[in-house]
Amino acid sequence: MSPPIEFELRRRTLLAGSAAIAMSAASGQRSAAQTVTPTGTPVGPESTAVTLTVNGEERELTVDNRTTLLDALREQLKLTGTKKGCDHGQCGACTCTVNGQRINSCLSLAVMHDGDEVKTIEGIGTPEQMDPMQAAFVENDGFQCGYCTPGQITSAKSVIEEIRAGIPSHVTGNLTAEIALTDAEIRERMSGNICRCGAYANILAAITQVAEGDEA
């Protein structure tokens, strides 16, 4: 018989809510608080000039340093195809590619991307000349409200490239063999794109259609 795991339940003894806040106010300024949330003041300009190549076109803009790549695209360059869902990396609506890799543009600053190549849904295709992935989304009803769709399509194209490049995922079996383009692989790799309308089954069908078409 193995020994049991011995443990003791932690009691809820500590202060909470208003009592705690009153306590901390009473104890006054603690120096440790400053090491956690540094104070200080900016020591240089609070805005910066950057050059981005967006959908193949060089764009020069001056951004407040706080501007995310997402806000620069939407608010300054008026490329509103890239959507803002959560603004915290949790939904994937803001997915675009930078130097060929998909990222969450809400968790990146525009100033970090000086000289980078950005591609948004507007650069992937147009209503007249759709990318095969866009066409497959239309054909398979891969959306309902459409809000998550630019991010889904951008991610979907990257997913196929990432599998072909041999980048393993959480569901990849053998890490040293070629990665198979399975439903499980696509689902796992698309997990960073949430669809509130629940169009997942049709999104999967669209991606599979493109992946199989590429192979044929």
Binding site: S2, P3, I5, E6, F7, E8, L9, R10, R12, L14, L15, A16, G17, I21, M23, S24, R30, A32, A33, T35, V36, T37, P38, T39, G40, T41, P42, V43, G44, P45, E46, T48, D64, N65, R66, T68, H88, G89, G92, Q101, R102, I103, N104, L107, S108, L109, V111, M112, S155, V159, A165, I167, P168, H170, L175, T176, E188, R189, S191, G192
Partner: protein
């Protein structure tokens, strides 16, 4: 978000010196944790030092036969590196189990180790939190609090938060070492075991870095071989933090190493627990989690950890 000045640096020692010299300076790598927290004004740097130009984005071989992973190597690049996939599979598995494809493309080796807790009360600035606002109390330990995700061991009366990284758990079981450069230009090597601190009375102090100190690399010793696995249990199949995760390396001679994620303020491992494998999962966990102090809501993690390891040991 608070206003900040911004600078790019190209030399590691210069970066560290600048960070020590400018009050309220912070390094920015992938930005996936720092910017999230800056939007919530949990982090409020006055000056941001972008370290992406430091050239620390390569994985090279060490003289000891191991690998040196530059601090700016992305999680995607690290998990996909052929040498890592072949010889350090537990690390590929751990990284691939975390976050999403988009996030892993930006997340870096150094930033991942330094990501902050996912305790919901740390994120809610209306709540007391000793980690965010030292001395304010711990909302996670208040009556009716939601502590299901939080820590069961290594925690304190001041803070029961976990360290949320999957990558760090894989690195811990591989005996990784963190390399740094100080503001004075000196280099240091800190075993990952000693890198993250337990909260004690100062949960705001989370790691062994000195002010301004920059992580330059993480080194892995020569490959140890064996069968390497990482199992992560979470509330949904993907894109969620661990309730419990188990990193396991089993050798043909029966020796093993186990590290746990999701249970403590750092990847949780002990030599005494490693020595218990031949006696089964319950014996390992009696060593590793004996003396745990869970809350009523998260006591299940102790059973879950044991069962996860048992399932891994039962697999062929």
């Amino acid at each position: 978000m608070r206003a900040f000045s911004y600078e790019k640096v190209t030399d590691p020692a210069q970066a560290a010196a600048r960070a020590a010299e400018v009050e309220g300076a912070k390094f920015l790598a992938g930005g996936t944790n720092l910017l999230d927290l800056m939007k919530l004004e949990i982090e409020r740097p006055a000056h941001v030092i972008d370290v992406n130009g430091l050239g620390l984005d390569e994985i090279t071989e060490t003289e000891e036969g191991g690998l040196r992973i530059g601090a700016l190597v992305t999680n995607t690049a690290l998990s996909a590196d052929a040498r890592i996939r072949r010889n350090y599979a537990v690390l590929t598995r751990a990284i691939a189990a975390g976050a999403s494809g988009q996030l892993r493309n930006k997340a870096t080796t150094g930033g991942n180790l330094l990501q902050r807790t996912r305790c919901p009360y740390f994120y809610d600035t209306a709540q007391p939190c000793n980690k965010r606002a030292p001395g304010s109390g711990c909302a996670a330990l208040s009556e009716g609090a939601f502590s299901r995700q939080l820590g069961v061991i290594g925690t304190s009366d001041a803070c029961i938060a976990t360290h949320p990284s999957d990558m760090a758990v894989g690195m811990r079981v591989l005996d990784a070492v963190v390399e740094t450069v100080t503001p004075e230009g000196m280099t240091r090597s800190i075993p990952l075991e000693e890198f993250h601190l337990l909260p004690g009375d100062t949960p705001e102090r989370e790691n062994a870095l000195m002010p301004g100190e920059l992580i330059t690399a993480v080194t892995l010793p020569a490959p140890v071989g064996g069968e390497q696995k990482y199992h992560k249990v979470r509330d949904r199949a993907s894109y969620a933090f661990a309730l419990v995760s188990v990193a396991l390396i089993r050798q043909p001679d029966g020796t093993e190493r186990v590290a746990l994620g999701g249970v403590a303020p750092k990847p949780w491992r002990s030599a005494a627990a490693d020595a218990e494998l031949s006696n089964g999962a319950a014996a390992v966990m009696a060593e590793l989690l004996g003396g745990a102090r869970p809350t009523e809501e998260n006591a299940f993690k102790i059973t879950l950890a044991e069962r996860t390891l048992a399932a891994m040991l039962a697999e062929e």
